[in-house]
């Protein structure tokens, strides 16, 4: 089943064509990569998919329904979650609160019930807290739950961002350069984690990355973006040997 499909997606900034004729299809349960040189437009694509940018033209179909023009929070509620290239955690809030916020969309109790601290409020709060702790446990962050997010080491911050995204119970997870700033060992661990969460949470994953070892080893299919256009598409092996891709990276090791 197709979970995400873009049709002729374009984004112009003034006179600049950031993204043009962008067409991808992602099926349920796949792990797809989006790669390309710096400035190719990958994050712009993510921003359009999540509703942060409005496309200049074209359509985005999530589970066969158009989501163009919808607000980001609506899109998240439909089942798409993302992480950010520059880590956007709620820095002055505790780790556990970062995760609890992701559960907010499902909260039923009203403001009045919350302020008056009714039984319904207490019960739901306990449930949220428990779910958050359980999720943090899975990612080995439980013992830091009362730590402020800004005090976590870099690797744990990245993990927390992924944890938070997963708390929104997504069907499709967009990861924007999750391996940025990691050494080879950490990248390897990340690789394992991505494979593992895909299975455990029954997700589909779309991944932007620069780190070729991660992409080649983890992705089932890859789209290559250059100057806002898709120049190649295929399995890691096909991409590795594609002359257009090698040219776009201008001698970077595509291996």
């Amino acid at each position: 089943m197709t979970i995400l499909k873009t049709v002729n997606l374009c984004k112009k900034f003034g006179g600049l064509n950031a993204v043009s004729d962008f067409e991808i299809t992602i099926n349920d349960g796949e792990l797809v990569g989006l790669i390309g040189p710096n400035g190719a437009g990958k994050t712009t694509v993510f921003n359009m998919l999540t509703g942060v940018y409005e496309p200049t033209s074209g359509d985005i179909l999530f589970e066969d329904k158009s989501i163009v023009g919808k607000k980001p929070y609506n899109i998240t509620q439909l089942g798409m979650a993302r992480t950010f290239q520059n880590i956007r955690l709620f820095k002055d809030l505790k780790v556990i609160d970062n995760v609890k916020i992701a559960y907010h969309q499902n909260v039923i109790y009203s403001v009045a019930a919350g302020v008056l601290q009714t039984a319904k409020y207490k019960k739901e709060e306990e449930e949220i807290a428990q779910k958050a702790i359980d999720l943090l446990k899975i990612f080995n962050l439980e013992d830091k739950k009362d730590e402020y997010a800004k005090n976590l080491p870099y690797g744990e911050q990245r993990r927390l961002e992924i944890t938070r995204a997963l708390a929104t119970k997504p069907k499709l997870l967009l990861l924007d350069e999750p391996a940025a700033g990691m050494n080879p060992q950490e990248t390897h661990q990340l690789m394992e984690m991505i494979r593992w969460i895909k299975e455990k949470f029954s997700l589909t994953v779309l991944l932007i990355e620069h780190d070729m070892s991660l992409v080649m080893n983890v992705c089932e299919r890859i789209y290559v973006l250059d100057y806002g256009r898709i120049i190649a598409h295929g399995t890691p092996n096909e991409i590795k040997n594609n002359p257009k891709v090698i040219e776009a990276y201008l001698g970077e090791e595509v291996c």
Binding site: F13, G14, T43, N47, V52, Y53, F84
Partner: protein, 291 residues
């Protein structure tokens, strides 16, 4: 027809004053992305400086104008160095709050030293001429001539001098400008100096036209000039001029139609409309936050 022309004259005179103040807002915003909240108070201080220059120092009008401009230019530079420069890389809200504090400081300090009672600004005796059935006074003429000359001078500085080029470069990309050898600090100081001197000129003209100066006189014109800057497109110099004129004409129009009590509301109505319909302003481009 004569009524329309009359209101045109009134509107453009008022609009020129707003435009001069708006230019200061827009130039500072363009270069450091800060709304200099205290700018309206520079307008007030300029008026006060002009007042003292004429009454205490006995200077003729135009010399008083120049002196007021010089005083406020200096004040603008000093203010930037002391209060805004330390916060250049801080949260935008911190700089804005400092600006609010500065605004309050100017108002309260002036009340403390000079007193809150309005002072009568010495005025040139009115002379009116009739052209095509439209009355234009010498005061309006002074405003128009002074304002237009200053705006022409500004355009010259911005487009034909090295400093002007530096200003445009720093507005565009501060780090790139720096690596081209431009002294960013000097450029920013220069921008504040020019913006403040224009506001001072507006203050003196305003005092000359309306006849009173008082410590709180900067609040409302300051807000309105800000609206004018936003209307034209904040950060865009021709936008400030355009916005100022439109606002002046709108206010004159509203007065003429008999709703003079709602004159002040015109600016705010325009603000609401612009912010909802086209926040980047009439001449502005939409710049998105990088995600």
């Amino acid at each position: 027809m004569e009524l329309i022309l009359q209101q045109l004259i009134n509107g453009i005179s008022l609009g020129s004053v707003y435009a001069l103040i708006a230019l200061g807002y827009t130039m500072v915003y363009g270069i450091i992305k800060l709304i200099n909240f205290a700018h309206g108070e520079i307008f007030m201080l300029g008026a006060l400086a002009g007042f003292f220059a004429i009454t205490v120092l006995g200077l003729p009008f135009f010399l008083a104008l120049v002196l007021a401009m010089a005083v406020c230019a200096t004040l603008g530079v000093v203010m930037e160095r002391i209060a805004y420069k330390p916060l250049r890389n801080a949260h935008r809200i911190a700089a804005l709050m400092t600006a609010v504090g500065l605004s309050l400081f100017y108002q309260s300090f002036t009340i403390y030293t000079v007193g809150a009672t309005p002072k009568a600004f010495p005025r040139i005796p009115v002379q009116t001429w009739e052209i095509f059935g439209v009355a234009i006074s010498n005061r309006q003429l002074i405003i128009l001539v002074t304002a237009i000359s200053l705006m022409v001078l500004l355009q010259f500085i911005v487009h034909k001098t090295k400093m002007g080029k530096a200003m445009r470069a720093v507005s565009f990309d501060r780090d790139a400008a720096r690596s081209m050898g431009i002294s960013v600090d000097k450029t920013i100081s220069f921008t504040f100096a020019i913006g403040s001197s224009l506001a001072a000129a507006a203050g003196v003209l305003f005092g000359m036209y309306y006849g009173t100066v008082h410590p709180m006189m900067g609040l409302l014109p300051g807000l309105k000039a800000f609206v004018a800057a936003v209307l034209g497109g904040i950060g865009i110099i021709p936008g400030a001029m355009l916005g100022g004129m439109i606002l002046g004409l709108a206010e004159a129009g509203v007065s003429a139609l008999g709703f003079s009590t709602f004159r002040d509301a015109v600016a705010f109505a325009i603000l609401i409309i612009i912010l909802i319909v086209r926040p980047s302003g009439l001449l502005g481009k939409n710049v998105r936050e990088k995600v």
